[in-house]
């Protein structure tokens, strides 16, 4: 894309300077200018295997159960130190994936090919799809994920300047107030630690403690120097292993002909625009609370289609995916109740005029064709092309957690943590006739309330050297649930081995009613991750 080089150059200059300085002085550790230099990180290998047979395209008949869907090597380095009395941190990460047989098949089918039209035509038995490149989606060159300075500007004011991650709110798994950063969901969906998925941004971040009010005011400014790839949450609609069932070879968000490629120049979501956040944190009695205002790109994209343009026509012929900037006002709080030894947390996030897509009649449904057993309507895709509608949205979360002593029954070495969280999205000015779709580019409609519940139980054995996690979630509104049993081995200082089963149980209906868990149908995985920490 024509703007890609310039934006990347800008952000890399900003990041290059501290990295060069650090590297230069790192070579001269005897220098008094750089002090307290510390390097830590990991070398990691993650391998996943299909536990179900996914349909990579509507006409796919091959059984891909037990195929290796990922073999990913990652190296991370965290460098911290002091440069002329100023603390700095640089976090770098590089990842490379082996193209397994399964991934090669997805590439040959068109995943990541930026040419969805060729993929669709091939489904009719006409020609072959253009081969895609999943390496571009999954591989990371040595990326500087974070690079910032920490400065004690005034007695009570700290500054953090550079590429960094700032979290908001209290919610696990989902994002109500924690919407300042998008996440890269393409290589492991939401299943990896959030720290590995967040898209860091170049920020000016200040925190000032006000002793008279016993609280802290935080100002975060994003001046607009970020690479466009770091804006918004990137979901699996470029094809690939985490693309929905039947669409794993369809590069919906890559195709510049009939797809919806990302546009970060849209007037409602321009990456060069100034965005930011303001937060007040304090305590009321024994309750922690935060009040915040975020003026930031919404994390989930919306489709700007040529059939009903949103503020301006899309740059691509049919549609584009954009991340409009919205204002979110919120309050988060947590506290402790001696009754039941319960820790509670809650969060309320209000976004006025939040953009959603409208149009539950899939675009391709008008094509009543059936050739080579492929019906375009089977895609149930390209819904939400009837424009963008803005609705007031309230997201709320409430969570309770405590410990339960299972030492006698399950032989754990300490009381076990359990947690239950309820999460709801309420469109306060909902109207059935608005025909809002639940997910971008999908045809299933959204209800006034969308409610999810998640729970977890964490068991520790052998002095925390063996840790078992049982996490799950249930979609109360649309049906479907997931289970994530895992065990992590932590022996010695260096090695960590994690084994996890990712099990998804969508509501079982056809793709025309695809909601969040429906996109994970037949995506069950067995995941083994070995990490060497240094």
């Amino acid at each position: 894309m024509k703007y890609r080089k310039n934006s990347m150059a800008k952000s890399r200059i900003v990041l290059f300077l501290p990295a060069v300085l650090c590297a230069f002085f790192a070579q001269n550790t005897q220098s008094a200018i750089v002090e307290d230099l510390s390097v830590s990180g990991y070398i990691r290998e993650g391998v996943s295997m299909n536990l179900a047979d996914p349909r990579i395209s509507p006409t796919d008949t091959k059984d891909d159960k037990y195929e290796v869907s990922m073999a990913r090597t990652s190296v991370r380095a965290d460098v911290t130190g002091k440069l002329m009395d100023v603390n700095f941190t640089v976090v770098g990460r590089a990842s490379r994936e082996m193209m397994t047989d399964y991934l090669s098949r997805l590439e040959e089918g068109g995943a990541g090919n930026k040419a969805m039209l060729s993929t669709i035509i091939s489904e009719f038995g006409l020609g072959s799809p253009r081969e895609g490149d999943l390496g571009e989606l999954y591989n990371e060159d040595a990326e500087i994920r974070e690079a910032y300075f920490d400065i004690q500007a005034l007695k009570n004011t700290k500054l953090r300047i550079g590429k960094q991650i700032v979290t908001f709110g209290e919610t696990d798994f989902f994002q109500a107030l924690d919407v300042f950063h998008g996440m890269d969901m393409r290589w492991r969906t939401f299943l990896e630690e959030p720290e590995e998925l967040y898209q860091p941004l170049i920020l000016f971040n200040s925190e000032t403690y006000l002793p008279s009010f016993d609280g802290t005011v935080q100002v975060v400014l994003r001046p607009g120097l970020d690479d466009e790839d770091n804006i918004g949450t990137r979901i699996g609609l470029n094809g690939g292993r985490w693309a929905p069932n039947g669409l794993k070879t369809f590069d919906v968000f890559g195709s510049e002909t009939i797809g919806a490629p990302y546009n970060l120049d849209h007037p409602e979501g321009d990456k060069d625009d100034l965005t930011g956040a303001l937060r007040w944190s304090s305590m009321l009695g024994s309750v922690n609370y935060q009040l915040m205002w975020l003026h930031q790109f919404q994390t989930d994209p919306v489709i700007n289609s040529v059939f009903a343009p949103y503020k301006q026509r899309p740059e691509s012929p049919v549609a584009e995916a954009i991340f409009p900037i919205v204002d979110t006002f919120g309050i988060a709080a947590n506290g402790y109740l001696t009754f039941g030894d319960l820790v509670w947390a809650t969060e309320i996030a209000y976004t006025p005029d939040k953009p959603y897509n409208s149009g539950s009649s899939p675009l391709l449904n008008v094509l009543d064709l059936s050739i080579n057993s492929f019906q375009p309507r089977d895609l149930y895709l390209l819904g939400g092309y009837n424009g963008v509608i803005e609705k007031d949205t309230l997201r709320t979360m409430i969570r309770g957690e405590s410990t339960v002593d299972l030492q006698k029954y399950l032989f754990t070495n300490r009381p076990s943590l359990w947690s239950i969280q309820l999460f709801d999205t309420w469109i306060t000015d909902f109207n059935e006739s608005d025909d809002i779709v639940d997910l971008p580019a999908y045809a299933a409609t959204k209800k006034e309330h969308s409610t999810l519940i998640t729970a977890g139980l964490f068991l520790n054995y052998n002095l925390d050297r063996i840790n078992v996690g049982l996490a799950g979630g249930y979609d109360i509104t649309y049906g479907g649930h997931f289970l994530l049993p895992s065990v992590t081995f932590a022996y010695g200082d260096n090695w960590r081995i994690k084994v996890e089963a990712d099990l998804f149980y969508p509501n079982g209906v056809e793709l025309d009613d695809t909601h969040q868990f429906g996109t994970l149908q037949d995506s069950d995985q067995l995941y083994v991750r070995a990490t060497y920490q240094y």
């Binding site: 830590s40 990180g41 990991y42 965290d78 911290t80 920490d150 004690q152 009570n156 991650i165 979290t167 209290e170 696990d172 630690e193 959030p194 720290e195 590995e196 967040y198 403690y209 002793p211 016993d214 024994s286 922690n288 947590n334 506290g335 402790y336 001696t338 030894d341 820790v343 947390a345 405590s402 410990t403 002593d405 030492q407 070495n413 300490r414 009381p415 002095l463 925390d464 050297r465 932590a490 010695g492 200082d493 260096n494 960590r496 990490t531 920490q533 240094y534």
Partner: protein, 437 residues
């Protein structure tokens, strides 16, 4: 009387005359004698500094000697320096008349100094008062700011030896009862302490730990932990004091002998006051952790690595002195994992060099030792007793977590350039101890 009978009586008398002095004059041991399983049985009639040895070694310590290769080296009692400041403050604030315990065993009316400078040891609340003296007035508690910015937890298997180590930081800032500052009380939040205890190495545990706001009144602690993978500070239970320090054999309260408000326990009882052999680390210049040393024996000189279970204090480093000791029994609340604990409190310094922990059935479960050393701060003109080594051993699992401290970079006591606001939950996010400005 026949001749033979007379001869027998005569021989018996001679024998008695020979033996009687031996019985009367029991063996007085010299300093430097090491008591271990090879000689314990034969020394039970011996004395040291005129006190029978068997009376100075508690039953469980004898069990450790006989069954767990504990070796104790005798040393002459040496007086510990007195921290006069805490006693002066007790007088200044008239603690004798103003400080008391409420019906829940909680201390009220205290400003600073030794809260209970005079105790009626026959009264039922004597032990509770001693525990408060330890917690807010004892040597190890008299710091306004305790700055252990780098110490190591060493994890030891009783059969195979050292498994691994983690590096942690402990930074406790006193907000109430400050002994070395102009103002005894900081802020108006009724905070007693702001406590940071967290790991800094290895990388996957950096930031793991807790920040606690502890109050001088009876409200529960406020506690937080940092969940690094979520980049988020998380509120945790106010009862975290009774929960394990993750991955270790210690509960949060096991640190430095006992680290929670005494009123969190259901009851305290003074069992007796007597001379007990307690572990002391006499040479302040010898730190218990030398991280730059290569071999384990030189890195952890205070640990007896020559023999299983590998966690006891090294008799070449830690000696045992007869000390006037309060023997106290504590009963925790019903939800607590422990059944009871026995505390051996050194009367002169109000430190806790030794302890025993029993499970709910009454079986011996853990032993703890915290040999105290004399820490001197010439600038402040003070010397006080502080544990530079800790041993918390689980004898059911045969596993221990020791803590060792190295020579501090910054002053360990009342480090200048750090104030109470610096000790906050955000430090966990960074995973590095607070440094002076």
């Amino acid at each position: 009387m026949s001749y033979l009978k007379v001869l027998r009586i005569f021989h018996a008398l001679i024998l008695a005359l020979l033996i009687f002095p031996l019985v009367l004059v029991a063996q007085e041991l010299n300093p430097g004698v090491i008591i271990d399983k090879s000689n314990l049985a034969s020394l039970t009639d011996a004395t040291f500094e005129g006190v029978p040895i068997k009376d100075m070694i508690p039953e469980k310590t004898q069990w450790l000697i006989e069954n767990q290769n504990l070796r104790i080296k005798l040393a002459a009692s040496t007086p510990m320096p007195k921290v006069s400041r805490t006693w002066e403050l007790a007088k200044k604030y008239d603690n004798i008349n103003t400080v008391s315990l409420n019906k829940n065993g909680h201390m009220i009316g205290w400003t600073a100094g030794m809260p209970f400078p005079k105790i009626d040891f026959t009264a039922p609340d004597a032990a509770s008062k001693l525990m408060w003296n330890f917690y807010v007035g004892g040597d190890a508690s008299s710091f306004d700011f305790l700055n252990l910015e780098k110490f190591a937890f060493v994890f030891i298997d009783g059969k195979s030896g050292i498994e691994r180590q983690q590096i942690w930081a402990l930074q406790y800032y006193k907000m109430w009862g400050r002994a070395w500052s102009e103002e005894p009380i900081l802020g108006n939040n009724k905070l007693l302490n702001r406590k940071l205890l967290f790991a800094t190495y290895p990388d996957d545990v950096r930031g793991v730990g807790t920040f606690v706001n502890e109050y001088v009144d009876e409200r529960p602690d406020e506690a937080w932990a940092y969940i690094r993978s979520f980049r988020r500070i998380r509120r945790i239970s106010g009862n975290s004091w009774s929960e394990p320090i993750p991955g270790t054999d210690l509960l949060q309260e096991d640190d430095i002998g006992f680290q929670t408000k005494p009123s969190n326990y259901k009851s305290w009882k003074l069992l007796e006051t007597k001379k007990i052999l307690l572990p002391i680390h006499p040479d302040m210049s010898l730190w218990t952790w030398v991280p730059e040393a290569g071999a384990e024996k030189t890195q952890y000189p205070a640990m007896d690595l020559s023999v299983a279970p590998y966690w006891h204090p090294n008799p070449d480093f830690v000696v045992w002195q007869p000390r006037e000791t309060y023997v106290i029994e504590g009963t925790p609340p019903s939800y607590h994992p422990y059944g009871r604990r026995i505390i051996y409190m050194d009367a002169a310094t109000h430190t806790i060099p030794m302890g025993e922990i029993y499970d709910k059935k009454g079986d011996y479960w853990k032993g703890s030792m915290h040999p105290v050393m004399v820490y001197s701060d010439p600038d402040a003109g003070v010397s006080l007793a502080f544990p530079a080594l800790g041993v918390v051993a689980d004898y059911k699992r045969m596993h221990a977590t020791n803590y060792v401290t190295g020579k501090p970079v910054n002053k360990m006591m009342n480090t200048p350039g750090i104030n109470g606001d610096d000790i906050n939950v955000e430090v966990l996010r960074k995973g590095e101890p607070v440094q002076p400005r």
